[in-house]
């Protein structure tokens, strides 16, 4: 079983790009499945299934989707083994720029789009900085100069990553990334694997469902801004 974790900001083009990449892998008769992690709702499962791709959705509800991801990824692996998949791709929307689903010794991919602006690569945390492959999308609508500057900034943020451009609509570049995916490590069980980076401790009263605002209701891991 090959495993690949894919993460990227909302609407970066993750689903579009994965669909194009998986199509090229299916041509080579590889069985690829996807598990999509999201917060509230998503139609992406249908998009995948339309292409004959096994797909499952994990909705994290009021949990951080990346926290939710780690608690479930081992079961996801079992699910794909049961379905005789050759490759499992997990897709998660990096919502807080700080959590990241990337696991040591598991191929890690970040999808990020040109429209998010040239300063974004500096702002995105470990989901970009610790990825093995960075896929840049939406190059078809910005100028060559912006594409070059954006790619340069991505390289600055993650100097050792492979940086590729893929068009989520036409699929340009997808075949080439598919070839890279074929080199992903095999994983039988994730027991004893480690996340590439620890997730922030999110155990304040609000994590536990508190909605009231005010000093009295803030408990646990609380940090105050410096407004002086």
């Amino acid at each position: 079983m090959q495993l690949i974790t894919v993460a990227g900001p909302p609407s970066a083009g993750k689903t579009s790009v994965m669909l194009k990449i998986i199509e090229t892998l299916q041509e080579e008769t590889l069985r690829v499945g996807v598990i999509k992690f999201d917060c509230l709702s998503t139609q992406d499962q249908i998009l995948y299934q339309k292409k004959g791709i096994e797909a499952k959705i994990g909705l994290s509800g009021n949990l951080c989707p990346d926290h939710f991801f780690v608690s479930n990824v081992q079961d996801c692996l079992l699910w794909s083994q049961k379905n005789n998949l050759d490759m499992l791709i997990t897709e998660s929307a990096g919502l807080c720029n700080r959590c990241s689903p990337h696991i040591r010794d598991v191929m890690a991919v970040c999808v990020i789009d040109n429209l998010s602006g040239v300063n974004t690569p500096r702002k995105v945390g470990p989901m970009l900085k610790l990825a093995d492959i960075v896929i840049i999308t939406k190059g078809d609508i910005v100028s060559q100069a912006e594409r070059e500057v954006f790619a340069f900034r991505v390289k600055q943020a993650n100097p050792s990553a492979i940086i590729v451009h893929v068009n989520g609509i036409t699929g340009q570049g997808a075949r080439e990334v598919g070839q890279l995916f074929k080199g992903a490590q095999s994983v039988d069980s994730l027991t004893d694997y480690h996340l590439r980076f620890s997730m922030p401790a999110a155990t304040c009263s609000y994590c536990l469902g508190q909605t009231r605002i005010g000093q009295n209701f803030q408990m646990g891991n609380v940090r105050k801004m410096d407004l002086s």
Binding site: R98, S100, N114, L115, G117, V118, R122, K123, G125, P126, K129, L130, G139, D140, I141, V142, S143, Q144, A145, E146, R147, E148, V149, A151, F152, R153, V154, K155, Q156, N158, P159, S160, I162, I163, V164, T170, Q172, G173, R175, E176, Q179, F197, S198, P200
Partner: protein, 339 residues
């Protein structure tokens, strides 16, 4: 590398390697530490700060070294690309392409064929430097040789720059800021000079003039295209420029192409505009997913270019009449003469 960098002060680091400042731009408290050594700076970063950055201390150090190494590499001179060679594979039916086409720096080659015929696959093969490992089984050589395969995945060795009609500037910057940001990312030293040169060139190409402090997002279609072409000619690191049409308004198309070939770019243009097509040295005809033939632009065709250009100018003049609210019930005599 760490041995030599770690003993420098931050100040020395920035003066020897100006780009290093980018790495530190998102880090706190640099002002107080400019006199401290790089090694001491890294040792003193607090655990909380690392948590905020989302990275461990050791990885952070490695990232810094890797950053410095990669940025130094960007400054190295690259292999100059003098030619690319397309060695034919097969079309969608498996029929052999029987072709070996070499395109030299400074040449314009047009690609013609209906939508879906395989134009994008050809361009993708070139960009990927296909080695019989794509569906077309084509092979691409650089300077007549098997290329360094690193160019497939490296930002600085990217072969193809792309200019198409639906591309727009999205950045909230003035023309001057925009161009100099691009120049900075190429780590040039004479940024001001290059920037003003590019703006002047773009203004030559654009019908209407614009200023260095015009926001890029408020340029007209023709001005945007002119700036994109001038910027690509001077600042893009890619030796091959791929153009899909250039609209026939607000830009001097012939001079725009000339600028690119003067800068020794290889220009590949997907177009069905006869004037652009005849400006090319050759035309690749795509059918059924394969290259069906290559046509050399003949002297006779070139001769017709003059006529076509004259017709084109008339059309533009008529369009201008339309735009300024005039009547086009009478076609100017001269046009009838041409036809």
């Amino acid at each position: 590398m760490w041995d030599s960098l770690s003993v420098m002060t931050i100040k020395q680091l920035f003066s020897s390697y100006p780009y290093a400042a980018d790495f530190f731009s998102s880090l706190p408290n640099l002002e107080q530490s400019e006199e401290s050594s790089v090694g001491a700076y890294f040792a003193a970063i607090e655990e909380d700060t690392l948590q905020d950055l989302g990275i461990g201390r050791q990885e952070f150090l490695e990232q810094f070294l890797s950053f410095m190494l990669q940025m130094e590499k960007l400054k190295e001179d690259k292999v100059k690309i003098e030619s690319i060679t397309i060695i034919g594979g097969k079309d969608k039916q498996g029929k052999a392409e029987d072709i070996e086409l070499t395109i030299h720096a400074g040449e314009i080659v047009c690609i013609v064929g209906p939508t879906g015929s395989g134009k994008s696959r050809l361009l993708a093969d070139i960009e990927w430097v296909a080695q019989q490992d794509t569906p077309t089984n084509r092979k691409i050589l650089i300077n007549g040789q098997l290329p360094d395969m690193r160019c497939r995945f490296s930002v600085e060795h990217k072969l193809v720059a792309q200019l198409s009609q639906n591309m727009n500037f999205i950045m909230d910057l003035s023309v001057e800021e925009f161009v100099s940001m691009h120049a900075e990312s190429r780590m040039l030293e004479n940024i001001e000079e290059v920037t003003s040169h590019i703006i002047a060139k773009a203004n030559e190409l654009a019908g209407e003039q614009f200023n260095p402090d015009t926001p890029v997002t408020s340029l007209s279609g023709g001005q945007s295209r002119a700036l994109m072409i001038a910027d690509t000619a001077y600042l893009s690191s890619s030796p091959i420029v791929l153009i899909d049409e250039i609209e026939n308004a607000g830009i001097d198309r012939q001079n725009a192409l000339r600028l690119l070939i003067d800068k020794q770019k290889i220009v590949l243009m997907a177009t069905h505009d006869p004037i652009l097509a005849l400006m090319g040295d050759k035309r690749i005809v795509i059918k059924n997913g394969g290259i069906s033939k290559v046509i050399l632009t003949s002297e006779k065709e070139r001769g017709n270019l003059i006529l076509l250009t004259a017709i084109d100018r008339k059309m533009l003049a008529i369009r201008e009449v339309l735009r300024s609210g005039g009547h086009i019930d009478e076609i100017p005599m001269a046009l009838e003469e041409i036809i």
